[in-house]
């Protein structure tokens, strides 16, 4: 059984390495600041003892006031699990760093989010539409999407 790590301990480690990077933490969820997402993700992947070397999935929720990106990480080595979230308040041009350089599996999922929510990922090697066709107007999975 995969053990869920206590998020408060991870948050303390993150704070020690990258001051001011976490927003809150409870249960198995750490919320990090969007500007420091890549640094925090890199820390979680490379730090000995954490070694989150596998991204289960990457998804996003539209809370209307903000977007919440969810990264579900596990370590195959230590068999433990953590959820990292980040919030984007900009609805016009939401932008966040791409984690493809860390976890290759994020490639298509980031393209999906870009396609259906209009969030652009800086540093993505091939950020273009994946489901909808070129010229489609709007972002259909946003709550305020009208056909």
């Amino acid at each position: 059984m995969t053990t869920a790590l206590a998020a408060t301990e991870i948050a303390a480690k993150l704070e020690a390495a990258l001051a001011g990077s976490t927003v809150e933490s409870n249960g198995n969820t750490v919320v990090v600041k969007d500007a420091q997402l890549l640094a925090a993700a890199s820390f979680l992947k490379t730090t000995a003892g954490l070694d989150f070397n596998y991204l289960n999935y990457l998804t996003v929720t539209d809370y209307q006031t903000h977007f919440e990106l969810v990264y579900d990480l596990i370590s195959i080595e230590h068999n433990h699990h953590l959820i990292v979230k980040t919030r984007l308040t900009d609805r016009e041009k939401p932008t966040v760093a791409s984690v493809v350089s860390l976890w290759r599996g994020a490639d298509f999922q980031e393209r999906e989010i870009y396609d259906l929510f209009g969030i652009s990922f800086t540093g993505h090697p091939n950020l273009k539409r994946i489901f909808l066709w070129d010229g489609f107007k709007g972002y259909p999975l946003r709550k305020d999407y009208k056909q």
């Binding site: 273009k128 489901f131 066709w133 070129d134 010229g135 259909p140 999407y145 056909q147």
Partner: protein
């Protein structure tokens, strides 16, 4: 990876191909805004067949209806019911239809089963256009008939009769293979009533 790095000819870069695909879909959406009328002119022709040609028609239609070669457009889960219909338990070859090959040029019947998305619509229209006359279309399942559950979706065509003219609708979600076989028998009846001289309306 080596192959991906080869230089692309003019107009064939990934960007250009994406744009071409998008433009094609947009123009298709503009072109097909209302449903195409079902080809049912044969119903009015009842009883008005020529005496000599009528006998020829009977022979031709018997030949046509006895071996309707299907081309499968298995778009979603309904395709599995069609596959069952083609396999031993239900056995579509009883109707001379066992030639199930993705080859539109040799086919008479297009069985559209499953949800048609706008992204897939140009390809379906191309398959239909590639089929040689005479040709018929069966829309199998709720999604193919009207868009079904996904009718109001941004990505789904509300019924394949927006894109191709449909002869027989087989309802169900998904329809059982028996339902498909019944639809095929209905199509046979329809083919037997058609007149050879009567030109099918081009959609």
């Amino acid at each position: 990876m080596e192959l991906n790095n080869l230089p692309k000819p003019e107009g064939y870069s990934d960007r250009d191909l994406d744009k071409k695909e998008g433009d094609g879909i947009e123009s298709l959406q503009q072109q097909y805004k209302i449903a195409i009328e079902d080809p049912d002119a044969w119903q009015e022709e009842q009883g008005s067949h020529n005496f000599i040609l009528g006998s020829a028609d009977a022979l031709i239609n018997w030949a046509r209806s006895s071996s309707v070669w299907p081309v499968n457009a298995g778009l979603a889960c309904c395709a599995f019911e069609m596959i069952s219909a083609a396999s031993s338990r239900f056995d579509i070859s009883r109707f001379g239809m066992e030639i199930f090959r993705p080859s539109p040029r040799q086919a008479d019947l297009l069985i559209v089963n499953g949800t048609l998305t706008w992204k897939m619509a140009p390809q379906l229209r191309r398959i239909y256009d590639q089929m040689s006359e005479p040709k018929w279309v069966i829309a199998m399942g709720s999604c193919a008939i009207s868009g079904g559950l996904f009718k109001n979706s941004y990505a789904v065509v509300p019924g394949v009769n927006m894109i191709v003219p449909v002869d027989v609708y087989v309802p169900g979600c998904p329809p059982r293979p028996e339902a498909l076989l019944y639809g095929i028998q209905m199509l046979h009846k329809k083919i037997k009533k058609e007149s050879t001289l009567q030109k099918r309306k081009q959609a």
